[in-house]
């Protein structure tokens, strides 16, 4: 763009930039307008919502701690679901990661199989998996564990697969040159390189799974969600408040533990 000396009108953005900004703003406004006008909302309810929410909160204080034993037990169950499911998912994810990494997969068919497993596991939410497994195994912890395993598999497999794709190829070449078998090359040249990622993503996923385990009970798959749902159905709001506080404690403690472990291990 040629600028003449006399052309001194200053503008912050070039024409194209201004146009892009304007168009983006317009698009956002249009999206908001469309959503607001066409959404199926009963507006009087919306205006009433703050009062209703305030009312709900009022009914929650003071928290009722009489069910604290049951709540503690449910917390432990939640922790168990998250831990057991993460533990198994981590090991199941390793072969999937191996076949879905471009540089280790045996052939194209296995590559696509691996990718299919990752995508289907990752795209279906834990709660939808839980719905399915509650229908299969019946309500309970088992359905929750399996649901979390299925969801974690894709997450862990994807991140581990990416770690495998990013390894340094040179030690692999060197070990192949010594006449080591494929299994030994994996053990000595690939495993040590992905161990840090392995621990990091396992801890990260455990933390996420702890949060997800708190809601499994809402579809009947065990953990603290079961008694939360029960208390809500009984309209026992003061117990609900205690359960919510317990969940905050669990989640924050889990996050702290995860952060500590990450520092220790890596």
């Amino acid at each position: 763009m040629k600028q003449s000396v006399a052309d001194r009108a200053w503008s912050r953005h070039t024409g194209r930039q201004r146009w892009v900004r304007f168009a983006s703003l317009l698009a956002v406004a249009a999206a908001a307008g469309w959503s607001l006008t066409s959404i199926d909302i009963i507006w009087p309810w919306v205006w009433d919502a703050p009062a209703q929410i305030g009312d709900l909160f009022k009914r929650m204080v003071p928290p009722d701690v009489s069910a604290i034993r049951a709540i503690t037990w449910a917390l432990i169950e939640t922790l168990n679901i998250a831990t057991i499911a993460t533990f198994f998912a981590v090991f199941l994810s390793l072969p999937v990661a191996y076949i879905s990494a471009q540089n280790t997969t045996p052939n194209r068919a296995t590559l696509w199989l691996g990718r299919f497993i990752l995508v289907s596991s990752r795209s279906v939410n834990t709660l939808i998996w839980a719905l399915l497994f509650v229908a299969i195994f019946g309500p309970g912890v088992l359905a929750g564990i399996v649901a979390i395993m299925f969801r974690s598999l894709g997450f862990l497999g994807k991140l581990m697969g990416e770690a495998i794709e990013e390894i340094d190829r040179r030690p692999v070449e060197a070990l192949e040159a010594t006449g080591a078998s494929r299994a030994k090359v994996i053990l000595y040249a690939i495993v040590p390189q992905v161990v840090p990622t392995f621990f990091a993503v396992s801890i990260l996923r455990w933390d996420i799974n702890l949060r997800e385990s708190t809601v499994l009970g809402l579809v009947g798959a065990g953990g603290i969600g079961v008694i939360l749902q029960g208390a809500i159905d009984m309209l026992d709001w003061r117990t609900v408040a205690t359960i919510l506080l317990a969940i905050i404690v669990l989640v924050i403690a889990g996050e702290a533990l995860a952060a500590w472990l990450r520092k220790k291990v890596i």
């Binding site: 340094d168 190829r169 040179r170 030690p171 070449e173 060197a174 070990l175 192949e176 040159a177 010594t178 006449g179 080591a180 078998s181 299994a183 030994k184 090359v185 053990l187 000595y188 040249a189 040590p192 390189q193 161990v195 840090p196």
Partner: protein, 261 residues
């Protein structure tokens, strides 16, 4: 005794990288291979242990035909071919001892490798070799804590742990400073004499090649165009190998040789 005859390597449908190459290396000699980047030095070395698959031709090591070996037999043959790399190719997160024991991976059962329960004689031999090159006190250090020269010594010991019939060294000194680089070359020369091994060294630095080896092979465009004693490598021979570029320029040029990494 290594005998290569009519070796051809072609990537895809392009110009062959190695063209009907013949080379004979009798036992106990140190041969350096010189040549410009892209002359095919690295490919030649990698054809010998089949990290690169030769297109045609024959490679005989102690009367064993290497080019037709499959799976298990190829692994058995590779156990006897030690290789030293430009980038050392160590496993950074493993200790020096584990890296050194990688040279025995082809010999020991899987459970020993997995549990790091190496046979006592392998450990003893590793300590002896590490003492020989001066890194025994690092046995429990992680490989990435070592300096470049020390790392290359680990690479040398790893190759020697294989109990090799031949050593291949692909630009072993190109990543090192001049002093360390001379130390490594000296080490290779002495080890070859002590262990009665033929050693093939790809090298950029022609003065090091002249100083530390008894025979120099010059490659250009996939062919051997010089083969003789270091004293025979005069300016004319140099010019034909490097086609006009001076020795100093070549020796100090940054390494752009595309190795199969």
């Amino acid at each position: 005794m290594l005998r290569i005859s009519r070796l051809v390597k072609r990537y895809g449908n392009g110009e062959p990288v190695l063209k009907d190459l013949d080379l004979e290396v009798p036992g106990e000699s140190v041969v350096s291979i010189i040549g410009a980047s892209g002359a095919g030095k690295s490919t030649l070395l990698r054809c010998i242990n089949r990290l690169v698959e030769p297109t045609s031709g024959s490679i005989l090591l102690n009367d064993l035909e290497l080019t037709t070996l499959k799976r298990e037999n190829l692994r058995k043959a590779r156990r006897r071919i030690g290789m030293i790399f430009q980038g050392f190719n160590l496993v950074d997160r493993l200790t020096v001892m584990e890296n050194v024991q990688c040279g025995r991976l082809g010999y020991i059962p899987y459970w020993r490798a997995a549990l790091r329960r190496y046979p006592a004689e392998d450990i003893e031999r590793a300590f002896q070799l590490m003492e020989r090159v001066g890194i025994a006190h690092y046995a429990n250090k992680r490989a990435d804590e070592l300096s470049g020269g020390e790392r290359q010594r680990v690479g040398v010991v790893r190759a020697l742990m294989q109990d090799p019939d031949i050593l291949l060294a692909d630009e072993p000194t190109a990543s090192l400073d001049p002093v360390t680089s001379r130390q490594i070359m000296e080490l290779l020369q002495r080890l070859a004499n002590e262990l009665h091994l033929p050693v093939l060294i790809n090298i950029h630095n022609v003065s090091e090649a002249k100083e530390f080896t008894q025979r120099i092979v010059g490659m250009r465009f996939g062919r051997i165009i010089f083969d003789g004693k270091p004293d025979d490598l005069d300016q004319d021979a140099m010019d034909s190998v490097y086609s006009g570029t001076s020795e100093d320029k070549k020796a100090s040029a940054p390494d752009t040789d595309k190795v199969a990494t």
